[in-house]
């Protein structure tokens, strides 16, 4: 028996087995689209009553169809009228849908192989595609039993491993002086009870903890521990392992196990990115990273950027987004745990490092006020939680430290980055940038920290770019163009046939197009319309980067006027951000003693080319330091060390947040930076465009 999700005071036997939620009778009968009906169009809802299996009458009246997704043969029953995208989401079939079903990005392409569908035409598909049965999943309505094929370009590709465990161990081990886990496992030999020593089992444990030097006055005990305690302590002759969860200013005995059941205690460092999620499994005894995995955040089906995620949460409920993130995390945990032949019950320590919106959503916390003036987050500093409160695949009692963040648009991932890169402890003035979906900047040293987010947008991650994609297999990541012919020399991720362009490829391409005079400093095309690599797409000029016959695709890979504009806006936002932050403290780029670049994106960044297009400032190149995924590295430190956890809180509290959304100077600077490299040539003395 569970409690109704909308009326937590009501017990009910009605459960939707698909959504794993309970509904009371009232909600079950309710036709309010915010309550019951919102699950209806999309899900083959199964209600089960106390008396057995029951389909609500309102449901029975509706026609249902079977949808089969190939390859993989994933099958789902849906109500007639459901969109293909919704069906895919509910069948846990991942398909790319950057714009969250608005029909704008054209990425959710599927091929209908059999069965009848309806839907409007779209300009985002070529005639050739339409002939072959291509549709956009979000624009297509199911009218029949159908079979659809997910084409290569729509299928999720595994991200290049963010760094396997061994590499991560080499990079990170030794970063903390002393290992102080959230959940400490303390071996105890209890005194044997006798008629002259009849204290309770629990007091016997507490007495021994006190003898071992622990402050038991602040230590409470979980009721589950009390329930199993009598058996646990007698199971191995009063030799036990007591697990204590250390909270901010109290502690809780969360487990007591017979000593022979003790296993290696593991930790989980999670970088919860908007685009991708990285998970490290850490040996809590020595800090070795035993396994590392990463995958796309499956919330991406609700849109590429945080604003679309919030909108989706407002529409469909925050629980949907919570479950999506958890499903990615838990699949990664399973994969990582399986790879080392461990059990997820061994995970007793967890750190989550994510931006403020990601953190809200994964915890199921309302995020709608983050996108409304005055942009207030619900929570920025979190108590120590337990895995069971969140739903992470780990021991129920695992302690969870959520990285605190100073503001709505600068979150725990940035605090993690500052913690890991360590510049907050030194005198050198440092400019820190995390080029992910958001583009957060921190300026400061051991005396001050000022921070802002630039709303760089998803362009660098492939969003809003015709052939843009993430750094997956087949993504063009490095490019040079031969002068005059503009013949490209490029490499792709994993050397697979080109399928699109990722962020670093775009920077290379834009820089090359500028230097080789395909475009001018306004980003306008200047090559002849008769050049073999010039074409028109939807009426606007475009550059043919690769011809269809050289790719595995039916079409040329092109880079359009709009793509150039999107990329230019993104880089302008970041550069303007640097400028305003410096101005705020009365400095300029010459004061910068080091510039730290972090983020998954930065991994393959060509600094020189990034300066050429005006994304990074024209300062001595030796000042640039690429430090990889600093969010997961900071999470790793906080996982192992209480000092690091305390420092993270201190960093978050020390940060002054500057809001650009209401800053007119930022808008001016942003406009000035929409030139390649910049309106003010003096700012880029080393860039020569003639």
């Amino acid at each position: 028996m569970g409690k109704c999700i909308y009326h937590p005071d009501r017990e009910t036997g009605y459960i939707c087995m698909k959504h794993n939620i309970y509904l009371c009778e009232e909600c079950l009968k309710c036709r309010d689209p915010d309550i019951y009906c919102k699950f209806r169009p999309s899900c083959p809802i199964h209600f089960i009553s106390k008396k057995g299996f029951k389909e609500p009458e309102i449901e029975a009246a509706q026609k249902k169809h079977t949808v089969v997704f190939e390859p993989g043969h994933q099958t789902i029953r849906v109500v007639e009228g459901t969109s293909l995208l919704t069906a895919a989401q509910n069948a846990d079939v991942y398909i790319n849908a950057s714009c969250n079903g608005k029909g704008a990005c054209g990425k959710c392409k599927l091929i209908v192989q059999s069965g009848r569908v309806s839907g409007e035409g779209t300009a985002l598909l070529t005639d050739k595609e339409k002939e072959k049965g291509y549709v956009l999943a979000c624009q297509t309505i199911i009218q029949d039993d159908i079979t659809v094929r997910i084409p290569e370009e729509t299928l999720e590709k595994k991200l290049k491993a963010a760094g396997m465990g061994k590499a991560a161990t080499e990079k990170l081990m030794g970063l903390v002086d002393k290992i102080e886990p959230l959940v400490e496992n303390i071996p105890l030999q209890l005194d044997l009870p006798s008629l002259s020593d009849t204290v309770s089992d629990l007091d016997r444990v507490r007495r021994q903890l006190k003898k071992a030097g622990y402050d038991i006055s602040k230590m409470s005990t979980n009721i589950k521990v009390m329930r199993q305690l009598a058996e646990s302590i007698r199971n191995d002759h009063f030799k036990v392992i007591a697990s204590v969860l250390w909270k901010i200013c109290s502690a809780e005995i969360v487990a007591v196990l017979p000593v022979h059941e003790a296993r290696k205690s593991l930790g989980l460092a999670i970088d919860l990115g908007t685009t991708s999620i990285v998970v490290y499994i850490v040996d809590m005894a020595d800090g070795a990273v035993l396994s590392a995995t990463s995958a796309h955040n499956s919330q991406a089906a609700c849109g590429d950027d945080v604003i679309n995620r919030i909108i989706c949460a407002e529409k469909d409920g925050v629980n949907k987004l919570k479950k999506m993130a958890l499903s990615t995390i838990n699949n990664l945990v399973k994969e990582a745990i399986d790879s080392i032949h461990a059990d997820h019950q061994q995970i007793e320590n967890i750190v989550i490092s994510g931006n403020t919106i990601m953190t809200h959503l994964v915890l199921g916390i309302e995020a709608r006020y983050i996108r409304r003036e005055p942009y207030i987050p619900t929570v920025t500093e979190f108590p120590i939680l337990k895995a069971e409160e969140i739903g992470i695949r780990a021991a129920a009692h695992a302690g969870v430290f959520v990285m605190p963040g100073p503001a709505s648009y600068v979150g725990g991932d940035i605090v993690s980055g500052v913690l890991y890169t360590g510049f907050y402890q030194h005198q050198e003035l440092t400019l820190f940038i995390d080029i992910g979906t958001n583009g957060e900047i921190v300026l400061g040293n051991n005396e001050f920290l000022i921070t802002a987010a630039c709303s760089a947008g998803p362009a660098f991650e492939g969003g809003g770019i015709r052939w843009g994609m993430r750094a997956e297999d087949g993504a063009i990541e490095k490019i040079t163009l031969t002068p005059v012919t503009f013949e490209p020399d490029y490499s792709t991720v994993d050397n697979k046939p080109a399928r699109g362009i990722c962020g670093t490829g775009m920077i290379d391409l834009l820089s090359e197009m500028l230097l080789k005079k395909v475009i001018d400093q306004n980003g306008k095309f200047i090559i002849g319309t008769d050049h073999p690599r010039y074409t028109l797409f939807n009426g606007e000029p475009a550059f043919i980067l690769e011809f269809a016959e050289k790719t595995g695709l039916d079409e040329h890979i092109i880079f359009t006027q709009s793509d150039i504009k999107s990329l230019t806006l993104s880089k302008a936002a970041i550069y303007a951000g640097f400028n305003i932050l410096l101005e705020q403290v009365g400095m300029d780029f010459s004061s910068i003693q080091q510039m730290i670049i972090t983020g998954g994106f930065g991994q393959f960044l060509d600094i020189e080319k990034a300066v050429t297009i005006g994304l990074l400032p024209d300062i001595p190149r030796e000042k640039f330091h690429y430090m990889g995924n600093s969010s997961v590295a900071g999470a790793y430190m906080a996982l192992l060390s209480n000092t690091s956890r305390q420092k993270a809180v201190a960093i978050s509290n020390a940060m002054t947040y500057l809001d650009f959304s209401t800053n007119t100077k930022f808008m001016e600077e942003f406009t000035r930076a929409q030139f390649l490299p910049h309106t003010d040539k003096k700012l880029f003395p080393s860039v020569h465009i003639n």
Copy 2:
């Protein structure tokens, strides 16, 4: 989806809707009687799988029958071979079963009206009864669809109200100086957020709490609060009520509600007795008792005394006993809450006062080692819990203080009694006795407290006595006998026709039989076998207290030689306990400055007659003070006052526990006291038996 009750690491879709437990596939298929099968004989088990309704095959092969209990027409499907007692327990039909199905007490009488049953004969039913279709539920096996009637004497009768709210208010209000609830509701007017004040919602609440003088450094926040916080604070223009649960050395924000949703905060004082449970609903603003209800602890179906309860928990799992106690508590809460037209969500404070075994069982804590040498309880001092962790009908976040107890056989109810009666604060040497099922004694003053339990047994509560019963309607509670004819003059509870004898009636009767020479000081019958009130029952002498024709029954109400023996053993155990406790500190009865008698039983006790049979010591009668149900009164104090809660812990820690079970002196004293009033006449100078 839930977790398997036996393998908490496994998620499963199989649920037994009757027992509300999840079982994994392995357990489902398992034929180990300790796992799956134990639910089978007794319950029409319904397993529901992800794919809909499913009956396990092992189940399908078994024949099932329908059992209808009248009056009430409660119906249940059971597997052939189930006993009638088990069927009744699973149908939540309360029937009296003092011996927990051993066939020894003869109390679980039912009348089979239709259908075939099997079972052995029993000497505990008269031929007349057998003719009418009477059976003992525990000895009767279901072989067919049957209808049974529960006769008057087996039906549960509501206890005389333990004192309505108003009377309780008069007695208790003003006992505490200052009201300090576990969950404090703090009204706050938050600052409105703006672009120049963008702290998070949670920090806004915490900041205001700090301004209001609260120490927020030790205050964590429940994740449920965080999830609803954004809406809650905006719902009534940033005017909120923050509810803070104060724990031993930390605090937790457990709710934040818009101020217009605030309602009267209620408290629940629970006296969790072995025999009966008393519940007070208290207004946390002023301490008024708004409602008071009581009922039998439905665990009584598993036996009258704590040892039988532990045995039952070992056999059927502690969860069964937990659910039984909770079902009684929650029904009482519903009744009490309904009577004042309130909502159980208003209950935010709870205190449970019970003996150590009751406390273990209601919390689902293993109790088996309590009955095995060296008699170790699992827990004696509890952290502050929440209602949702226990399953009490109240706000999920309601704080629960469980009265601590010093030892396995002296528990929180006695600490409650000491707290309420207050003698621990004064110099007067006090002997305290709670005559319930256990018979706990405390001797002491403001310098020392020594305590013991006498294992008085259930005789005073009607257990093991042929016509013994609780103080329910129709119980004979006061008796005098006319000399020679032994014509009784008696009164019954609620003046209903006599149905049996309760504890006070038995003391009166034994005293009268002794004084009027029905029996001698050994308890042996001395009246002539030809006396109209002399009879034989199962071959032993018995006294006819009332003839069948004067009762509503088919039989005479009698008092047998065995009944006299049982009662004598009980009183001897208590008196011996007094003696040993005094001896332990080098004192005797003359040192006693006051004697406090508490417990529901004591309510109608005739002190003079209790001295006559040697239950109470022969000391000046003005030293005796009857103080009613001190367990619920202590719970009431702890509910309202943190000082009282701290004092309760201090009392429990200060108590020295003496174990009689291994005390040879106790055995000697016990033997000496098995005479009426006592082997040593000098101890009872005022009792004249000639």
